[in-house]
């Protein structure tokens, strides 16, 4: 598929170039005048000899050929034959003195367009005009036919490409198929680059019309990765977001485009007379680039339009594939979360329910016993205290009688468990809100020192139970614009962790400030965190301990980090396994960043 360049087409329209085989100069002059007077703007090349004739025929393209029938050296039939050989589509008119009917008919049959007798030259002008007109019609018809064929080809190509693209959601398989489809229909080679998950640009595939060059071409792609500063290819196309068409590349240009001599040789071997690159863009996201090259012919508007259409379809398909993957992943994460949450919630619920049902049972029995049977009343947990053997085959173990003390103990356990459950549910709700983007921060004036001291006093009993001594350094007020409840949540969570994992050893808590930020620090000497867990400690569902005795859903620190991020702060942790951990929270004092 090769087309005259735009420049060549322009030039052809203006002056008609006429080749006139005539040995009589006077006749030639007469004919020339007739034509010019008749309004035909022309440039006439007159030849007498066969050699000149052939030379002209091979050197120039003519709009019309006029020929005398009889010349010394060669005859009309020969002249016509040569014209047919070199420029078969050009109108050919005999302008001759004598031309018998039979000869004339024979010539017409052989492909001459018309003939005019020299003694009736009045016919010349209309004959020439008609011949030119018919040629024009023929050309138009042919152009229309060609345009139709091109159009069909284009639609067929794009339809086939669309089918390939739709055949699978894996663009790593479909795009190479499309590249192969484009060769050699559209180009001698076609390469595709895609932006991968890690944001890097990778060559995906290259198709080449020469099978033997295929592997070599592949290596080439990898050997010369994308050069961000290049004036061609991926770099320029993504920077401008526009396609790039280099119609006719000179060797000098090619040299400028190559990085070293080896690269230049490679490009020459690949075939780069013409080059076309289109970006793959969907929803303003750059997904890659498709490039085409032609070794011998040149690309034009036709190729550009097809390439752009193709790029649109391919980009849309790649985008869909990514969206689908993202959706699948989101569903998977949600399902995993639901599964874990459901399992985790059922755990505290199990002991809660068992305890309640046991108490209920005891209560009912007690009620039953007191209301009218001859059973002995329940004593205070001595061994051997009596239950009726008929009603209760189990021996009564000490401490299980329904005394007020027993009830109080049980209730305390139940309260603790409902609180644990409630906390778990709140954490789940927080995480769900964070995931849905509905996690809101409401700012007000908050004194961090005050919050910390409040939380510590609430934990007083727990400190005693855990046996952790407390050293507090939080005297001067440290005031900032934060969300009070959320800050409380952070402080509570960190202190609670210190107690939980503190192994009964001393805990240090301090609140301080610098010019720009407030600091809250908790140090314990407990079990510490292993280095391999340290990096993931603020992620969801991770627990640095394997023992579930420590309880919880692995969400606490995740939520803490989300809160601190939302407030523009930072949290960090230092820890050594077996020695203890230090958590440091920094919050901005003014504005929303830690620098001021």
């Amino acid at each position: 598929m090769s087309y005259p360049t735009e420049a060549e087409q322009q030039h052809a329209i203006t002056t008609l170039k006429i080749l006139h085989i005539e040995d009589n100069p006077i006749d030639a002059e007469l004919i020339s005048t007739l034509l010019r007077r008749g309004g035909i703007d022309c440039e006439i090349d007159r030849v007498e000899k066969k050699d000149d004739y052939v030379a002209r025929l091979s050197a120039h393209e003519y709009s019309i050929i006029l020929a005398d029938y009889t010349l010394p050296g060669f005859d009309g039939a020969g002249i016509l034959r040569l014209a047919q050989q070199f420029q078969p589509d050009v109108p050919f008119l005999f302008v001759s003195a004598t031309l018998g009917d039979e000869v004339a008919i024979e010539m017409l049959k052989s492909g001459a367009t018309d003939f005019v007798l020299k003694h009736s030259l009045a016919r010349l002008l209309p004959a020439v005009k008609r011949a030119l007109r018919e040629k024009k019609e023929r050309d138009k018809a042919r152009a229309a036919e060609e345009a139709l064929q091109r159009s069909e080809k284009r639609f067929r190509f794009l339809a086939e490409a669309s089918q390939l693209l739709a055949s699978s959601l894996d663009y790593h398989t479909t795009l190479p198929m499309v590249a192969r489809l484009a060769v050699p229909q559209l180009a001698d080679w076609c390469s595709i680059y895609t932006v991968e998950e890690d944001e890097t640009i990778q060559p995906l595939t290259i198709a080449h019309v020469d099978e033997h060059k295929l592997e070599w071409a592949h290596d080439l792609l990898w050997k010369y990765p994308v050069d961000p500063g290049a004036l061609h290819g991926y770099a320029s196309v993504t920077q401008t977001g526009m396609p790039l068409l280099l119609e006719d590349i000179s060797d000098a240009q090619l040299e400028r485009m190559s990085r070293d001599h080896a690269h230049l040789e490679a490009l020459r071997s690949l075939g780069m007379r013409s080059y076309l690159a289109v970006p793959l863009v969907a929803r303003e996201r750059n997904l890659g680039c498709i490039s085409f090259g032609s070794a011998r012919s040149t690309f034009g508007q036709f190729h550009l339009e097809i390439a752009e259409d193709l790029a649109r379809r391919a980009a849309s398909m790649v985008e869909n594939a990514k969206l689908y993957q993202e959706a699948q992943e989101a569903v998977r994460v949600r399902d995993e979360f639901l599964s874990i949450a459901s399992h985790e919630l059922k755990t505290p619920l199990t002991s809660l329910q068992l305890e309640v049902q046991m108490l209920l049972r005891l209560a009912r029995r007690t009620a039953g016993v007191l209301s009218g049977s001859n059973l002995v009343a329940i004593g205070a947990g001595e061994s051997g205290s009596a239950y009726s053997q008929e009603n209760d085959p189990a021996a009564c173990k000490s401490g299980n009688a329904l005394t007020a003390e027993h009830i109080a103990n049980k209730m305390e356990t139940l309260e603790k468990q409902t609180k644990k459950l409630s906390k778990l549910i709140n954490n789940l709700l927080d995480v769900s809100r964070i995931a849905a983007g509905r996690f809101e921060i409401r700012r007000e004036e908050v004194d961090l020192t005050r919050v910390v001291n409040d939380v510590l006093s609430r934990f007083e009993q727990q400190f005693m139970l855990a046996g952790c001594s407390l050293k507090v350094n939080a005297a001067a007020p440290v005031v900032g614009m934060w969300d009070r409840l959320r800050v409380e949540q952070v402080v509570t969570n960190i202190i609670s962790n210190a107690l939980k994992y503190g192994r009964g050893r001393p805990i240090d808590v301090s609140v301080s400030r610098t010019d720009c930020s407030a600091h809250f620090q908790v140090t314990d000497s407990g079990i510490g965190i292993a280095p391999e867990h340290l990096g993931r400690i603020f992620e969801r569902f991770t627990r640095a301990t394997t023992s579930k005795n420590y309880g919880g859903l692995g969400l606490g620190l995740y939520i803490v980090k989300q809160i601190i991020d939302a407030l523009g702060g930072r949290i960090s942790v230092n820890s050594e396994l077996g020695k203890g951990s230090t958590f440091i929270v920094e919050l901005p004092l003014a504005g929303s960043t830690l620098t001021c």
Partner: protein, 128 residues
């Protein structure tokens, strides 16, 4: 008033959550059983090999160190322990399939109903 001396009726509870373990222990002790407990499969094997043989094992499936599946595999390989009936306790919705797969005598779905617990235990306990 006669007090019937009872042969030791032991149940082994294998469950990593301390609250659930405590609740089950209290309930079953009240019903007259002796309770041995372990917080994972490995501990349970130690207990089994070094104490009185229980008439029933209540087995949680999700535990650290050694989970219910692994424990059951070990139990079935030990001739001495293989025929102690096992009732699995799980929060998983597909507990029926799991019980069948693991060859359990019965199952208890979390959160556990007290009545169901007592009935199941009574039904499957095998005095030795």
């Amino acid at each position: 008033m006669t007090v019937t001396a009872k042969a030791t009726k032991t149940i082994l509870i294998i469950e990593d959550d301390v609250d659930i373990r405590d609740a089950l222990t209290q309930i079953l002790e009240f019903e007259g059983y002796d309770i041995a407990s372990a917080s994972n499969g490995k501990e349970a094997l130690d207990v089994l090999r070094n104490s009185a043989r229980p008439g029933l094992i209540l087995l949680d499936l999700m535990m650290p160190v050694m989970d219910g599946w692994q424990f059951r595999a070990e139990q079935q390989q030990d001739k001495r322990l293989a025929d102690i009936p096992v009732v699995i306790v799980s929060a998983d919705g597909r507990i029926f399939q799991k019980a069948t797969a693991i060859g359990a005598a019965g199952y208890l779905r979390k959160p556990v109903e007290l009545e169901v617990l007592l009935n199941t235990v009574q039904r499957h306990f095998k005095a030795s």
